[in-house]
């Protein structure tokens, strides 16, 4: 995971370097970046919950879910997050919120109906570990420059289409115009490269955080096999769900416990969740450690 983080950082330093070297609109880029970043950090969780149709529930409405979360919060020494439920048959759960105090844990009604208490505890433990590890914050920061690159690429297309000859043919001198054009081209190229590489690295980082969350849940609940059993149950139904139901959930998949995709991923490197058998193998190792039967 550290190597992935290092590579991401290196990539972003290169991007900043290219942006500064081009000298084009440094202040504008900074302002846009700050606005985007604060929006992502402060509004994205509310936006996500709203678009997913999740509803915050009281202890009276969902006594079992609240009780499971409360006990795990005592165990994890966490303040209690908001508890939300999504009225969807697809069994899944996710956590949002930039900090431990503003976190929300959301489960679907399908999940609550399907899992035994111990399995539900495992899934909630996984989501709480995302909260403990501040994974929303980590992924927001990590994906920030990838987003800036994406914005630059989009701007480039915009200018390419509407401002076509503007750079060279304006009122400026010929030589200066060409230099500027080259600089803009370099920034676009660098942005494309940064976006492509960071896409792959971000997916890798996300998979590491999933493993960490599985591990955290196992340690928190003391029952790795219950989480394994929950994962098998959840993934079994997700593959059988029609794809149009899943489409609406696509945007949140990075924080789902099992990604909401019906088809098998093309390659592991593009996947934001590790494959099920690897997660199960990791949980099996933890159970063996717990039982004192490993090595």
């Amino acid at each position: 995971m550290l190597l992935t983080m290092f590579l991401l950082g290196l990539l972003y330093v290169a991007l900043i370097g290219a942006l500064i070297a081009s000298g084009a609109g440094g202040v504008t880029i900074a302002v846009v970046a700050v606005v985007l970043f604060s929006f992502q950090l402060f509004a994205s969780d509310k936006l996500a919950l709203a678009t997913m149709g999740a509803r915050v529930v009281t202890p009276q409405e969902q006594p079992e879910l609240h009780a499971v979360i409360e006990r795990l919060c005592i165990q994890a020494d966490l303040p209690k997050p908001r508890v939300a439920v999504m009225d969807v048959n697809m069994p899944n759960a996710f956590a949002t919120g930039r900090s431990q105090k503003s976190a929300t844990i959301c489960a679907t009604t399908g999940l609550l109906a399907m899992l035994e208490p111990a399995e539900l505890e495992g899934v909630i433990g996984h989501e709480l570990t995302h909260v403990i590890n501040r994974d929303v914050m980590v992924m927001t920061i990590a994906s920030f420059f990838a987003m800036v690159s994406a914005v630059i690429i989009r701007f480039a297309f915009f200018f390419g289409m509407f401002g076509g000859g503007g750079f060279g043919g304006g009122g400026r001198g010929r030589g200066g115009g060409q230099n500027e054009e080259e600089a803009v081209l370099v920034v676009i190229l660098v942005s494309v490269v940064v976006y492509t590489i960071s896409f792959v690295l971000l997916r890798a980082l996300s998979r590491y955080r999933e493993f960490a969350a599985d591990r955290g849940s196992a340690i928190l609940t003391g029952r790795p096999s219950a989480l394994a059993s929950a994962l098998i149950k959840i993934s079994g139904t997700i593959e059988r769900i029609p794809s149009n139901d899943l489409r609406s959930a696509e945007g949140m998949s990075a924080f789902f416990i099992v990604p909401a995709r019906a088809k098998q991923s093309l390659m592991n490197i593009f996947s934001d969740h590790p494959p099920l058998d690897k997660r199960l193998a990791a949980l099996a190792r933890l159970e063996a450690q717990l039982q004192g039967t490993s090595k």
Binding site: L2, P63, E70, I74, D77, Y208, A212, G216, I219
Partner: protein
């Protein structure tokens, strides 16, 4: 737990806090009794998360035997029970002073800690009754080393926040009360 652990998402589960904070009740209850007419109902319980391993089971078995034996010597009784969330309760009944309950509960947590499973301890619950006979629970959170009142009100999953805040004001000087209200976790279905 360093920065590296935080970065790679490896955090250990927190162990119990210093023990003296549990013993704060053995003096605070006198104030409860004399000033607030809140008396002990002679029952206390400790709840922990059992692991399904032979080592843990052996430790719990030994601990329960010792606790039950010492309890019966002191004219008290102890029993264990599993709840619907998969947690194990050890319940101590002692009509004598609250100090004895505190000592017994501390014996349980000490045994679990010495067995190397301190991070599995959740909390201890001491039940009281006020002058009108309404139940009042004082819950000790082992991770935080702090106390908070939990007063169930009539109706499903309802608690009397007003009464709890009054209790905090009444006893806060003597009992280390959890300062963050969002950590006053209820415990429904206390099996005693």
């Amino acid at each position: 737990m360093g920065l590296l652990d935080a970065l790679v998402g490896r955090r250990a589960v927190k162990g119990p806090a210093a023990r003296e904070r549990l013993f704060a009740l053995s003096t605070a209850y006198v104030t409860l009794e004399t000033e607030q007419q809140i008396t002990s109902s002679g029952v206390a319980g400790i709840v922990f998360q059992p692991l399904a391993t032979s080592d843990f089971a052996a430790m719990v078995k030994d601990m329960e035997e010792v606790v039950k034996a010492t309890a019966s010597e002191m004219g008290a009784s102890a029993e264990s029970q599993d709840d619907s969330y998969g947690f194990r309760w050890l319940i101590v009944r002692d009509k004598g002073a609250v100090e004895d309950l505190v000592v017994t509960i501390n014996g349980v947590s000490t045994a679990i800690e010495e067995g190397g499973y301190g991070e599995r301890l959740l909390c201890a619950v001491f039940t009281f009754k006020d002058a009108k006979g309404a139940a009042i629970n004082f819950i000790y959170n082992y991770k935080r080393g702090s106390w908070y009142p939990f007063v169930p009100a009539g109706g499903e999953q309802q608690r009397s926040t007003e009464r709890e805040l009054q209790l905090k004001a009444q006893i806060g000087g003597e009992l280390p009360i959890e300062p963050e209200l969002e950590r006053w976790f209820p415990l429904w279905g206390i099996p005693f």
